[in-house]
């Protein structure tokens, strides 16, 4: 019987340039899967407490998903793990493309790096044989250019993960790029790679990936395909009205993920641009504005049909039938660039009040090449603009830039400076919290972050679930782990016993009430997404619903196990608890990672979609933590929890 995992990892010590393949016992995969789970297991056990994120003790891991290459769909995500220099907590970033199967084709489930190389190097693995090569010529080149160079050298089949100049210059908001602009951006792990002087990882292998029951895998995949091609009859200009409708309606019903799937299929994530602005999901004007500040008249440049017009061809990550990505050429200025995602568009437009879509394309490509996180870059620019508008930053501080809301030219120059770390850019290149500390003068109020990580473009005041996860996750400020909306779309109660089913019609206000069901739903999202990150699954696939996209059944068919969905949720819980235990080991106080009060609705907004909304995370936290068996007041995993989950 073939296994879906390779059973081996490669541990590279960059300090003395040794590379040791290690066998991992089956028990570890049974407890943690691979992907993020395996990463958490290795990092928790091998990294000494208090390790400097940019020092030699930090371990950076490239982990493939458990289901990658087994015949399942939506399972091409790889996870980059390490201790985050941005937050000091557990750090991970997730990316699609073709790198995840390449890790397995090289004969490993994950590749870990420790130590610091004396000079710039890159790792090349050909059919399992690893060599470290000199990267002095590549240092300083942008991510896309480096990738093209390496692909020319090693053939088009080679998969490349690379850092850009941002990572080299240790900008704490840098990420790791692959496939010419897919980027594992969050948690600032590009800086860790830069600190290790590791420019790239190049993989070229043909090891086969197996599954216990390939026929069953195929059957499950086909059954789920019928839910993918759901045509959406709405034109792009109607999408804003959908948002308006969602805003004005006092009653809401649980949303079905199929609607989102059809939006993603048609336009990609950008399909939600105007809907989100109108609905109140997207933060505007550095989280201070509302849909009234950025009305349809302004947001019409973000109409998804306009973006669709520039798309030449769809881009699919490995094993994805949906294809939400795209390759675009915009008005001849930007040729063959990745289609900007919703997060990038809103961070670079709405958050800074910038109406120019062309500048978004330009900045998106610029940041992808530099290897910088678009969400954090946009958020940092918005922070700087607010500081300038409030008189905290002066014209001398900004090197003569007129940093006003919506000043496209100034925003572009500012971000260019951040990439180069010139003048004010140097101050801002390490995200808002670090910048606010240096600026002082009460600027911390305008730095919207959770533990140092800028939250994504989903307003927790509109969906309180987002705020729960922004504040309480072991990786603070992240939108890809759960939300009220995600819980409805995952439809987990249809597969997992004992989870609450949302009522068919409810008032918006009821979302803000603190009760046990909320905590249960939030914890279920966290567990499920931790499991999914271990499996290498894409969240957009999971939106289709847990009954339609058979994650649990795929896991059983791939591994030959016969676990129940509840038992798989325990694996998710174990991964989640291990991440929290990692934080505790490294001296993190979970309560310190709460999001800035403005994003919680303190003071509440005076107008717009989220008028008067406040999310009481202090009240929600104990119940959420209790769901995992963590201490209600401190958020630390209890001793018996660690024993129950076999962590200790």
């Amino acid at each position: 019987m073939r296994k879906p995992y390779m059973g081996k990892i490669l541990m590279v010590d960059l300090s003395d340039q040794t590379m040791i393949p290690e066998s991992i016992p089956d028990r570890v995969y049974e407890d943690y899967l691979s992907g993020m789970g395996l990463g958490a297991y290795i990092l928790y056990n091998r990294m000494p407490a208090g390790a400097d994120p940019l020092g030699p003790e930090n371990i950076l891991g490239f982990c493939s998903g458990f289901l990658t290459g087994t015949g399942s769909l939506f399972s091409g995500r790889w996870t980059l793990v390490g201790k985050s220099p941005l937050t000091g907590t557990w750090g991970d970033a997730n990316c699609g493309g073709t790198f995840s199967p390449a890790i397995k084709h090289s004969g490993y489930d994950a590749i870990f790096f420790k130590g610091i190389s004396p000079g710039p190097v890159y790792l090349y693995i050909k059919n399992g044989k690893a060599t470290l090569k000199d990267a002095a010529d590549l240092w300083g080149r942008d991510a896309t250019e480096t990738e093209e160079f390496l692909k020319q050298q090693y053939g088009p089949k080679a998969a490349v993960a690379v850092i850009g100049p941002s990572g080299e210059q240790l900008s704490l908001i840098s990420g790791v790029c692959s496939d010419r602009g897919r980027i594992a951006a969050r948690s600032g792990l590009g800086a860790v790679m830069g600190a290790k002087k590791l420019k790239a990882v190049v993989l070229d292998g043909v090891y086969r990936i197996g599954a216990a029951d390939p026929a069953a895998m195929k059957k499950l995949s086909r059954q789920c395909l019928k839910w993918v091609n759901f045509p959406l009859p709405l034109p792009g200009k109607m999408m804003a009205s959908v948002g308006t409708l969602l805003r004005v309606s006092p009653l809401v019903f649980p949303q079905d993920g199929l609607l989102y799937t059809s939006i993603l299929r048609k336009w990609g994530t950008g399909g939600m641009n105007q809907t989100s602005i109108e609905w109140g999901d997207s933060p505007l004007k550095n989280w201070d504005g509302s849909n009234r500040d950025f009305p349809m008249k302004k947001s019409r440049t973000l109409n998804p049909d306009l973006i669709k017009k520039t798309e030449i061809v769809k881009y699919h990550c490995y094993s994805c039938p949906l294809g939400c990505g795209g390759i675009c050429s915009s008005k001849g200025k930007q040729t063959h660039v990745h289609k900007p995602e919703y997060e990038s568009i809103l961070a670079l437009s709405g958050l800074c009040m910038n109406e120019d879509l062309d500048s978004v394309y330009y900045l998106n490509e610029l940041l992808n090449r530099a290897g910088m996180d678009t969400i954090s870059a946009g958020a940092t620019a918005a922070f700087a603009i607010e500081c300038y508008e409030k008189g905290i930053l002066t014209r001398e501080d900004t090197d003569g830039l007129e940093l006003t809301w919506g000043n496209t030219e100034a925003i572009v120059t500012l971000i260019k400076k951040m990439i180069k770390r010139e003048g004010i850019g140097d101050l801002l290149a390490d995200e808002t919290k670090a910048a606010a500390k240096k600026i002082g003068k009460g600027s911390m109020e305008f730095a919207i972050q959770a533990g140092g990580q800028e939250p994504a473009m989903h307003d927790g005041r509109n969906d309180p679930g987002f705020n729960v996860h922004y504040c309480l996750e072991p990786t603070p400020g992240r939108h890809t782990l759960g939300a009220h909306l995600y819980y409805e779309m995952f439809q987990l109660w249809k597969r997992v016993k004992g989870l609450p089913k949302p009522s068919p019609l409810y008032t918006k206000g009821s979302k803000y009430k603190v009760n046990r069901e909320k905590a249960q739903a939030a914890a279920a999202c966290s567990k499920f997404m931790s499991l999914a990150n271990g499996a290498g699954m894409c969240m957009f696939g999971l939106f289709i619903g847990s009954k339609r996209v058979p994650t649990f059944d795929w896991l059983n068919a791939a591994s030959g196990w016969t676990l129940t969905p509840e038992e798989y949720m325990t694996i998710g819980e174990r991964i989640q608890t291990l991440k929290q235990a990692f934080n505790i080991k490294h001296g993190i106080e979970p309560r310190d990672n709460f999001i800035s009060s403005r994003a919680l609705g303190k003071p509440p907004q005076k107008e717009g979609a989220n008028k008067g909304r406040f999310v009481d995370v202090e009240k929600l936290a104990p119940d959420y933590w209790e769901q995992f068996g963590w201490d209600r007041t401190s958020g630390k995993p209890e001793e018996e929890t660690l024993q129950r989950l076999k962590i200790k």
Partner: protein, 146 residues
């Protein structure tokens, strides 16, 4: 079970040249061997060996075939879901996504970009989740250009 080489091998090296996994080694004119850990059971060596010296995974003797007679993938675009699994599964790297001219946000589908590099292993066909790829022996030109 990996492929193995019997002592009929005369060390011509044809198998080592065709092996996509770098699994075959041996000195010229001496008995070659297959590294069991690296072998991916694609069968290219068996189809190449002029001495019929290679046993397949089940221990059966492989027969040599003219390379022009090796089966090649035929992709049925109609049912293809553009997931890219076949491109990744191909050990020879001969499949690619079609590079069409500007055609407004449609999927690009795989095609046999480099028919000469194809080793006829059929991995693309076995791994395709929707069975859109059939392996056919080329008669004259049955390779579908897409």
């Amino acid at each position: 079970m990996p492929y193995t080489i019997t002592d009929k091998c005369n060390g011509c090296g044809a198998c080592a040249r065709v092996c996509p996994a770098d699994a075959i080694s041996g000195e010229k004119k001496k008995l070659h061997s297959i590294d069991a850990d690296l072998c991916i059971e694609c069968g290219a060596c068996g189809r190449t060996c002029p001495q019929s010296a290679i046993l397949d995974a089940e221990g059966a003797l492989c027969t040599m075939m003219k390379r022009s007679q090796w089966p090649k993938p035929q992709i049925v675009i109609k049912s293809c879901i553009a997931c890219g699994i076949c491109i990744d599964a191909c050990p020879a790297g001969c499949l690619a996504l079609s590079e069409r001219p500007r055609n407004k946000g449609v999927d690009s589908f795989p095609y046999l970009k480099n028919p000469k590099a194809c080793i006829g292993c059929g991995f693309c066909s076995t791994e395709c989740p929707v069975d859109s790829i059939i392996m056919v022996k080329p008669e004259k030109t049955t390779v579908q250009e897409s």
